[in-house]
Amino acid sequence: MQARKRIMQTALAIAIGGVLIAPAQIWSMDAEDAPESVTIDSLVNLYTGVEFDHAMHVDYASCQECHHHTTGGEVVNPNCARCHSTSGEADEVTCTGCHATDRFNETYIRTLEAPELYHIDKPGLKGAYHLNCISCHETTSGPTGCQDCHTMTDAGEKMFYTGKYSPAKGHSAPGH
């Protein structure tokens, strides 16, 4: 029943989208509207924050590649375009606006049960960053190692048993 309802809604959305082929460009944001750099520091426990050079990245990627449909540009992904080809610029374009910092929080997980919800699989903030950054960096030879972007803190080194917390040489785990 749920699935059927969703199909109906999607079909409706596509139908409407088809009738109103709107000039999307008019509403789209411009790179100049964006901040020069963004501080990403949700993981500061194990790693130091990242100073993200937004202005520099604008040269490498179009807005949509990171901001999906929210900046109002042309929606390339056909799957997203089913609903968002005409949705235009969103009120909220920051990452945190959509991607939950506490993705696996009990109440957040509860919201995923809403039967009409399409985005049941939206990554959390940390996942969104890494999934987006690393996959792009792999194709554009950008940094992909953990410490290429953010250095490990003391707490991180402790958890990873690395740096000054490295296991003593010759030590081996018990058992066989």
């Binding site: 999934l131 958890m159 048993y161 690395t162 296991p167 018990p174 058992g175």
Partner: protein, 311 residues
């Protein structure tokens, strides 16, 4: 007269011998019913296409479960080349979870697979345990109680995923060491396990198992060609709380694709079914044999007695 007494004695003995097992029979029949898992159970969907082999999950698990210091740092990736008995790394008493690297033919990059307890819906470890040391909690975790475990290691035999390990190094406090879904410290408070929280790539998605299946299906459907059309763990061994999706066939990344699609217990049911049969039929059957086999002697004895009586 003498004969009836001996027969009554026999019945007593027979009952005494089977009294203990008669109690068991009932419970076995009860346990043999199928169990589909708790509807509200949580799980984790592991997306092999997302994992980059950073081993953060291993480090987080080690810290959360207070496991001993590892032999190598968790950011040392030479562990992926470790081979023992021709096998890649596995869980042991020092590691509840392990990430292995797989170089898949015709793929330009390696794939990584995290192993840990899959938290089966109908766990083989639980059903094989004769002291009830395992519990499947409504939250979805398969937890273990070391206080009642005798250390027989049948759970290790029964686990189709080779997950439970034994603390062989201890003489006085040996126990099963296995992933418990961070039940005590996190899951029971509604929090995700430490490994999930540590994963930068969200290769591990924590959620209600039913929702995760929908998520997995959505990912497979909406990115055509990216994944093979299978959620490993949806049906395997009757379903597991931890499930996997992959871009290559599962047997190429170390999964056992020959595990039964039904709970392990089902293959044991054939035997469990004969137990009540033997308990009920054998006594009568063998008494019958006995009476038949000794009939001639009895007749002779009777004739002898009769003769003596006549004299």
């Amino acid at each position: 007269m003498k004969k009836t007494v001996s027969r009554r004695n026999f019945l007593k003995g027979g009952l005494a011998g089977t009294a203990a097992v008669a109690v068991i029979q009932n419970k076995e029949a009860h346990a043999a019913q199928s169990f589909e898992g708790y509807p509200e159970g949580m799980g984790v969907l592991v997306d092999l296409t997302r994992c980059i082999g950073c081993r953060s999950c291993e480090a987080a698990c080690n810290k959360e479960q207070e496991l001993p210091e590892p032999a190598k740092p968790f950011d040392d990736y030479s562990v992926f080349d470790e081979i023992k008995h021709g096998q890649k790394r596995r869980t042991d008493e020092t590691a509840y979870t392990v990430v292995n690297r797989y170089d898949v033919p015709n793929l330009d990059h390696p794939l990584f697979r995290k192993i840990q307890c899959n938290h089966c819906q109908e766990p083989a470890c639980l059903t094989s345990c004769f002291v009830n040391a395992y519990t499947k909690t409504p939250e979805g975790a398969v937890i273990y109680n070391s206080k009642v475990c005798v250390g027989c290691r049948t759970c290790m035999i029964a686990c189709p995923f080779y997950i439970p390990t034994f603390k062989y190094s201890s003489a006085f406090d040996p126990r099963i060491m296995k992933c418990v879904f961070c039940y005590d410290t996190r899951l029971k408070d509604g929090k995700p396990p430490a490994c999930v929280e540590a994963c930068p790539q969200e290769a591990l998605t924590f959620g209600r198992r039913n929702d995760l299946i929908n998520m997995g299906r959505q990912r497979i459907r909406e990115t055509p060609g990216k994944y093979v059309e299978h959620i490993y763990g949806e049906k395997e061994v009757g379903g597991t709380a931890w499930m996997y999706i992959s871009s290559v066939p599962f047997d190429q990344v170390g999964f056992d694709t020959h595990v039964p699609k039904e709970p392990i217990l089902n293959s044991v049911k054939d035997f469990l079914a004969i137990v009540p049969m033997v308990l009920t039929i054998w006594p009568g059957l063998f008494v019958g044999f006995h009476l038949l086999a000794t009939r001639k002697e009895k007749i002779k004895e009777q004739e002898k007695e009769d003769k003596e009586g006549q004299v």
